[in-house]
């Protein structure tokens, strides 16, 4: 890569190399067709230039074989592009099961993240090299987009739902983090850095919790919120509780009172908390109060982390 005039950004994840390969393939195909078309035009313009105003060139109506050739060849090429792109895309967005999860909330105009160890960060994200990291994203207000060019990946942070993105850094160093979705006045300031550390260094870093801030892990914080916010009053696994038992809820099938069944994923659990009337569990009364406005997005994520851990 040319250092003084780079055309390819840093490659800091395994995926980055794969995406660049595909990109180069696309450039190759494009360059071929562009040069072909350009050369033909220039050649024809010279070869068949008008020499006299009385030129009356013969009519050519078309040529079926040629039409077929220049339909089929591009068709085959685009199918290759499609398959290659789709396969890589699935790799890009299917996190491995053992990926470490970091909770990320976008907010006009900053990124807030919480590590599994409980440590918080704003606009800077430390991650270990060589370990898969999965981010669960959401937004407090408008749509933002978490974009790390060096990892060739990006995902929108959408208010009211959870999205995920993952990467496995392959090189230590600091790389740009941008918000890629226009989000208002200071959109271009909603950026930061991804710091890729050697794995042990990351572990040390993450363990350095600020005791004054009493930073809890997302799981501990969620458990505490579950009690403090009074969820226990209705969701106590004891018999006769007003609300359904949430142990083992995550990814189970829930029957609703209108006969539908839904899978209890993160989005469903979130909705049950902020918009309890939207989906009522079969056999229960719609008495759960809404917690919209009482819990911020980070706290919601923590409660969900806690509910997910109950098995």
């Amino acid at each position: 890569m040319n250092e003084r005039f780079p055309v390819i950004p840093d490659q800091a994840s395994a995926l980055a190399r794969d995406v660049d390969m595909l990109y180069l393939f696309l450039i190759g195909v494009s360059a071929f067709f562009l040069i072909l078309i350009g050369a033909l035009i220039i050649w024809f313009v010279f070869r068949f230039r008008r020499t006299s105003d009385t030129d009356r060139p013969a009519e050519i109506h078309g040529h079926t074989k040629l039409e077929i050739v220049w339909t089929v060849i591009p068709l085959v090429l685009v199918l290759i592009m499609f398959v290659w792109g789709a396969v890589l895309f699935f790799k890009q967005f299917r996190p491995p099961a053992d990926a470490m999860e970091i909770l990320v909330t976008g907010k006009q105009w900053m990124w807030k993240m919480q590590h599994p160890s409980g440590r918080w960060e704003i606009n800077e994200l430390h991650v270990p090299v060589g370990r898969p990291v999965k981010l669960t994203l959401t937004s407090e207000d408008v749509i933002h987009s978490f974009y790390v060019p060096a990892f060739r990946t990006k995902m929108d942070a959408v208010p009211g739902r959870y999205t995920t993105v993952w990467f496995e850094p392959t090189r230590t160093g600091s790389y740009h983090l941008f918000c890629a979705e226009y989000c208002g006045a200071e959109h271009s300031l909603m950026k930061g850095w991804i710091h890729v550390l050697p794995a042990e260094e990351y572990d040390d870093w993450a363990a350095r919790i600020d005791p004054d801030l009493a930073e809890l892990t997302p799981l501990e914080a969620g458990e505490r919120l579950f009690t403090e916010m009074g969820c226990m009053a209705c969701h106590n696994p004891a018999s006769g509780a007003l609300g359904p038992n949430v142990v083992g809820l995550y990814m189970s099938e829930v029957r609703l009172d209108d006969g539908r069944t839904v899978i209890a994923d993160e989005d469903y659990i979130r909705q049950s908390i902020v918009e309890p009337m939207a989906k009522i569990v079969e056999g229960y009364q719609p008495i759960m109060p809404t917690y919209r406005g009482q819990l911020d997005e980070s706290q919601l994520m923590q409660i969900i982390t806690y509910i997910k851990s109950l098995e």
Binding site: L22, F48, S188
Partner: protein, 547 residues
């Protein structure tokens, strides 16, 4: 009517009063009024672009605050897309030429046509109002919930402007469809139609099917803002991604509203300046329809990282690849048309060839964006910005100016200075590439779009881009100057200065109010460049006005 009176009276000089323009139902005059209106918007959008391109020369704030910057790129996008590109070729050249190419006296509904201009202008004024009373800062895409809840600017006024001007599009589209079906001259069968007409037919179908969707969507944004009904804002129980589906359901096909008419223009120009029938005429005509239909099923390629399902993404990806095929076919057929022709590089032809080159780059980079894994990286970066400017400016604007030069003698009855025209075309081509090619590179490097300040390492490419924009602006200004000059002092044009085929060249320049001195009868296919009739021009056959 005496021969002499017929020769001197035309649609421009029948009456000179302002009222004769404002109340005209002549499609030619309405086309000219549209031309004046959209050029105003083109100018405004261009000024906005120049201002923020200057600002972008430095990575930090130079002379405008973020709020101003955001308003400028929004103003640029809204005016250029809704008030310039969408109406550009259909409402100006289409309006002027379609009836003449069909051998008709006017469009099917002349009053509806006049109404469309008023509606469009009213919509434009609302948009203008939004800008004057403080501006809009949502981007032309109006993504929710930013636009519906958070933005603190004139969203409602701008939304109304777009809503209203949508009706003008629909009126024009309906008018074209009916006219093409019902008002073709005797002998003018479907497969004798010029490709310009086919392109407008396909465009009109998209307009009529798609515009209501954007109109309602944008109205819903206003409704949510005013009444706080939960439609798109999740805090009110709405779905922000729903907006994107609705928006792109129209706005992707809108790309074809903008490019298909350009393809029609290019077909006419290439045929004329190589004196050949368009190679594979039927296939080129049908590919317009294929694009119109397929174009409605690819909107999700704007949303691969929006939380849309991965499987839905796959469907949108493959359909986006398929819609590229008819475009590729057109390009190959145009190039093949040149083969064995008699080629002359006059100004319109330079624009048409420029179109092919730039549109090819735009189309090929579209493949990068249909490729999901690459899209994820370049989505919402300058790569996209470069891509759609290659399609819409390199494609549509080049075609529009090519068409404007080609039919300028017909519309105004005046010739423009040919040499200056050619030089300007080349300046514009160079300026365009200098502006937008660096943006592909800076985009792949990771520069997000709509960034007021940016990391230093991107500065060099931004400076190149701004330099290119200056060249481009110079080209446009030069064009403005010599076209105005030709309007006032240009030599008179004969009926067929380019020796082109097509009914519009058989009538005097400028045409009489009723378009033809005698109702035409069509005996040939379009582009009959082997027929000697085609080359007839009233400058040579003085006194003889009928064919």
């Amino acid at each position: 009517m005496s021969e002499n009176a017929a020769k001197t009276e035309n649609y421009l000089n029948v009456k000179h009063t302002v009222a004769s323009w404002l109340f005209t139902v002549d499609h030619k005059r309405i086309g000219v009024m549209y031309l004046a209106t959209i050029l105003l918007f083109f100018f405004l959008g261009g000024v906005a672009a120049v201002l923020f391109r200057i600002e972008l020369m430095t990575p930090t704030e130079m002379f405008m605050a973020s709020e101003t910057y955001n308003r400028l790129f929004t103003m640029h996008g809204i005016t250029m897309i809704f008030f310039f590109l969408i109406p550009s070729i259909p409402a100006v050249l289409g309006n002027f030429l379609l009836p003449i190419m069909l051998g008709a006296r006017d469009l099917a509904f002349p009053r509806l046509n006049l109404a469309s201009w008023y509606v469009f202008t009213f919509g434009g004024l609302l948009g203008l109002g939004a800008i004057i009373f403080g501006g809009v800062d949502t981007g032309w895409t109006f993504y929710t919930p930013y636009s519906s809840t958070y933005a603190n600017s004139n969203v409602i006024l701008a939304a109304l402007g777009i809503f209203v001007s949508g009706f003008a599009s629909i009126m024009t589209g309906l008018n074209f469809i009916v006219t093409i079906h019902k008002m073709r001259a005797p002998g003018l069968t479907w497969f004798r139609l010029p490709l310009f007409v086919w392109a407008h037919y396909a465009t009109s179908i998209i307009i009529v099917l798609g515009t209501p969707v954007i109109a309602i969507t944008i109205l819903l944004v206003a409704v949510e803002r005013i009444f706080s009904v939960g439609i798109f804002d999740p805090a009110l129980g709405g779905d922000p991604v729903l907006f994107q589906h609705l928006f792109w359901f129209y706005s992707h096909p809108a790309v074809y509203i903008m490019i298909l008419p350009g393809m029609g223009v290019v077909s006419e120009i290439i045929a004329c300046f190589s004196r050949k029938r368009i190679f594979g005429y039927h296939i080129v005509a049908m590919s317009s329809l294929a694009i119109a239909i397929l174009g409605f099923f690819v909107w999700g390629h704007h949303m691969f990282v929006s939380s849309q399902s991965m499987y839905a993404g796959m469907i949108f990806s493959i359909l986006s690849f398929l819609v590229a095929i008819p475009s590729a076919i057109k390009v190959f057929n145009w190039v093949a048309t040149l083969y064995g022709g008699s080629i002359k590089l006059d100004t319109p032809m330079l624009y048409a060839l420029g179109f092919i080159g730039l549109f090819t780059i735009g189309g090929l980079t579209g493949l990068f964006l249909a490729t999901m894994a690459v899209n994820v990286h370049v989505h919402d970066t300058y790569f996209i910005v470069a891509h759609f400017h290659y399609v819409m400016v390199g494609g549509m604007v080049m075609a529009f100016f090519g068409g404007l030069h080609f039919w300028w003698p017909k519309i105004t009855g005046k010739l423009f200075p040919e040499m200056l025209g050619r030089i300007t075309a080349i300046i514009i081509f160079i300026g365009f590439n200098l502006t937008f090619f660096p943006q592909f590179i800076v985009g792949y490097l990771g520069m997000p779009r709509r960034y007021h300040v940016y990391p230093e390492e991107f500065q060099l490419l931004h400076v190149m881009s701004t330099g290119g924009a200056a060249v481009l602006a110079l080209g446009y200004m030069l064009m403005g100057v010599y076209l105005l000059y030709s309007l006032i002092l240009g030599p008179k044009a004969s009926s067929n200065p380019w020796k082109a085929a097509g009914l519009e060249w058989t009538t005097p320049s400028p045409p009489p109010t009723e378009n033809f001195l005698e109702p035409p009868v069509v005996k040939h296919e379009a582009y009959a460049y082997t027929e000697e009739d085609t080359y007839r021009d009233d400058a040579e056959t003085k006194g003889d006005t009928h064919g």
